[in-house]
């Protein structure tokens, strides 16, 4: 491990509070995702943004410190600002650049998958129709991103 650069050259991202940001416009999907998390005993706080604009405003508020959720579950097809735009904004801002973003969507179109990874998604998961399969997907996601994975909360400033 290399030593971290001195504090002056770093912008401190908000410390993770274990929150899951669910960016999802369909109320049914919100309910089912929350249910799947609960069924898997994932008790982290879930914040729901029902469009891309809400998600960006939550992550990068005009006032106050930016919030750093532990995991962002991001749908692609969203009103106002699309999921891919949200992803671009997250990766474009040094305060949110290293947040874990899992694209969780209905599409399995190659172009969506490729665009997502090009914009820096950490993972791409297609929501299965069968709830038991969805349950399993959420279990694995929760286990990996909330327990196994180690996220960076420091980001280098553009000045460096």
């Amino acid at each position: 491990m290399t030593a971290l650069p001195s504090a002056e050259t770093l912008t401190r991202g908000a410390p993770s509070d274990g929150t899951i940001l669910l960016v999802e416009d369909s109320p049914d999907d919100v309910m089912l995702t929350q249910r799947a998390l609960r069924k898997n005993n994932i008790c982290n706080r879930v914040v729901v943004a029902t469009d891309g604009e809400q998600a960006i405003n939550y992550l990068l508020p005009r006032e106050g410190r930016p919030l750093a959720p532990e995991l962002i579950l991001l749908d692609i097809n969203l009103p106002k600002v699309s999921g891919l735009e949200v992803l671009r904004t997250i990766r474009g801002d040094e305060r949110t650049r290293y947040l874990a973003v899992v694209v969780l969507t209905t599409s399995n179109e190659e172009r969506d998958i490729v665009s997502s990874y090009n914009l820096g998604a950490n993972s791409y998961v297609r929501k299965p129709v069968e709830f038991d399969n969805f349950l399993e997907a959420v279990r694995v996601l929760g286990l990996y991103w909330l327990l196994v994975n180690q996220t960076a909360t420091y980001a280098r400033t553009p000045a460096e």
Binding site: D29, L32, R35, K39, T105, T106, E109, V129, E130, F131
Partner: protein
């Protein structure tokens, strides 16, 4: 056509004067006769003069004159005789020249081409043929003293003159495309022009043979117009096709996103009922919910298969070298993982390689191998084999199983979407899988067919390379006339 050689050093060819006999030119016999006469007279005059000088005509002088006269007479007689003979020879020669000239004139008069000869120095016409006369409504007698400027409008005449002079400078046969106004409207000619040389090998005239290519040009223009029209139509069609492809794409995208979402809700909430309200449901109620879920799942698969069917048509085909053996192993592992309880003996021939779109090939193999997996579900010793084999003189890939097979009478229905040869209760399926396979094979320009017997397994043979995928090389443009 050969050029005429000038008949004298003066540079006046005899036959260039359009059928009129050559003007009397000094010939050797006349020259001799004239000289002889002149000499005799001069001698006589001198002798007489000499006599006159002495005051009286001397006898010697008279004798001399007499002698001279005799000489003259003798010579004259012989000369006249010679001249008669010469005249007879000359007449024959002239006759011959005339007849040869007539033949030539007939020849050039009876061709569809326009033939003419013009002097280089002043541009005056020396000769025209009948076609020329007919087209430009000027007789050969009138045209002889005319230049192009007396026959054609200024601009055309200038251009023709330029072409003639250029031909003279080139000192070889050259070809022009010329346009002239006739009573049939403007006509286009391809004119072959060559300089005509005199005895000193100096060009003194330019001869031209012009062939009417108006119809040819019109046909060419027509062909060009048709080709342009065709190109426009193809462009429009392509644009339409692209538009409909975009629509299909948008539709597929919508299907992928919007049709699956309600299914997820249906499945999820029916599961919630089963989980949370289990005690309030009796056996029948639970069965109903299970049936509901099974159908939702089935619909989900159908949507996925339809998406794959549309994808197999609309994605761009990018060929790469693919290790088909390796891909078959991967796909089979994926298929096997979905049914961990089943034991299927998989045989994949090593070293199968092909040049195909990897994404589409994987979809193809997935459908064939999962089909084989499915239809061997009732076999006691299920075997699925992927190999390369020769069939009907062609080396083909084959996915073979030891499963249920099918009646070959229905083989033609096999590759149509939604066609199923087995009841859904026996073997699940959407009836789209083989349609996807066939589409992928056809997009690669290959072929696919099946061989089967009921309860004795099925073999699906396919190739992925064919003529369709190869673009023909650039085609040659038609040329109007060959170079001279």
């Amino acid at each position: 056509m050969s050029s005429s050689e000038p008949s004298s050093a003066a540079g006046e060819p005899t036959w260039q004067q359009n059928g009129r006999p050559a003007a009397a030119a000094p010939t050797p016999s006349w020259v001799t006769l004239g000289l002889a006469t002149a000499t005799a007279v001069a001698v006589g005059v001198l002798v007489v003069g000499a006599g006159a000088e002495t005051g009286r005509p001397s006898l010697a002088g008279l004798a001399a004159v007499g002698a001279e006269l005799v000489i003259l007479l003798v010579y004259g007689g012989s000369t006249i005789r010679g001249r008669r003979a010469l005249l007879r020879g000359r007449a024959a020669a002239e006759l011959e020249a005339q007849s040869s000239h007539n033949q030539l004139q007939k020849l050039i008069d009876n061709t569809a081409a326009v033939i003419y000869m013009k002097r280089i120095d002043n541009g005056r016409y020396l000769l025209v043929n009948r076609e020329w006369e007919r087209l430009f409504k000027v007789g050969r007698e009138q045209v002889i003293d005319l230049t192009d400027h007396g026959v054609f409008p200024q601009e055309l005449a200038d251009q023709l003159r330029d072409n003639d002079l250029w031909t003279a400078r080139q000192a070889r046969t050259v070809q022009f495309e010329e346009t002239a106004q006739t009573d049939q409207g403007p006509r286009t000619y391809v004119s072959v022009k060559f300089p005509v040389l005199d005895g000193n090998s100096e060009p003194y005239a330019v001869c031209g043979i012009s062939t009417d290519i108006t119809e040819w040009k019109q046909a060419e223009a027509q062909a060009r117009r048709l080709a342009a029209e065709l190109e426009t139509r193809v462009r429009n069609r392509t644009a339409e096709l692209e538009a409909s492809n975009r629509e299909l794409d948008a539709f597929a995208y919508t299907v992928s996103h919007d049709l699956r979402a309600p299914l997820r809700s249906l499945h999820g909430f029916s599961q919630a009922l089963l989980d949370d309200y289990l005690e309030q449901l009796d056996e029948t109620g639970r069965e109903y919910l299970s049936r509901l879920q099974a159908n939702v799942a089935r619909m989900g698969h159908m949507i996925d298969d339809l998406l794959n069917l549309s994808r197999s048509t609309r994605v761009e085909l990018v060929r790469r070298d693919v290790d088909l053996s390796e891909m078959a192993h991967e796909v089979a592992a994926e298929v096997a993982a979905a049914e961990p309880d089943r034991q299927v003996h998989l045989v994949v021939q090593d070293g199968l390689h092909t040049h195909a779109d990897p994404q589409l090939l994987r979809l193809l193999l997935y459908n064939l191998i999962s089909n084989a997996w499915k239809f061997t579900s009732r076999s006691r010793q299920p075997v699925v084999e992927v190999a390369r084999r020769e069939r009907h003189g062609q080396v083909l890939f084959v996915v073979q199983d030891s499963g249920a097979g099918f009646d070959m009478r229905y083989a033609d229905k096999l590759f149509n979407a939604f066609q199923r040869l087995h009841p859904a209760a026996e073997f699940e399926g959407t009836g789209i899988g083989l349609a996807i396979v066939a589409r992928i094979v056809h997009r690669h320009g290959g072929r696919i067919f099946a061989e089967a017997l009921p309860d004795q397994g099925a073999s699906f043979y396919f190739s992925l390379e064919g003529q369709m995928s190869e673009q023909p090389d650039g085609h040659t443009q038609p040329t109007l006339v060959g170079a001279t």
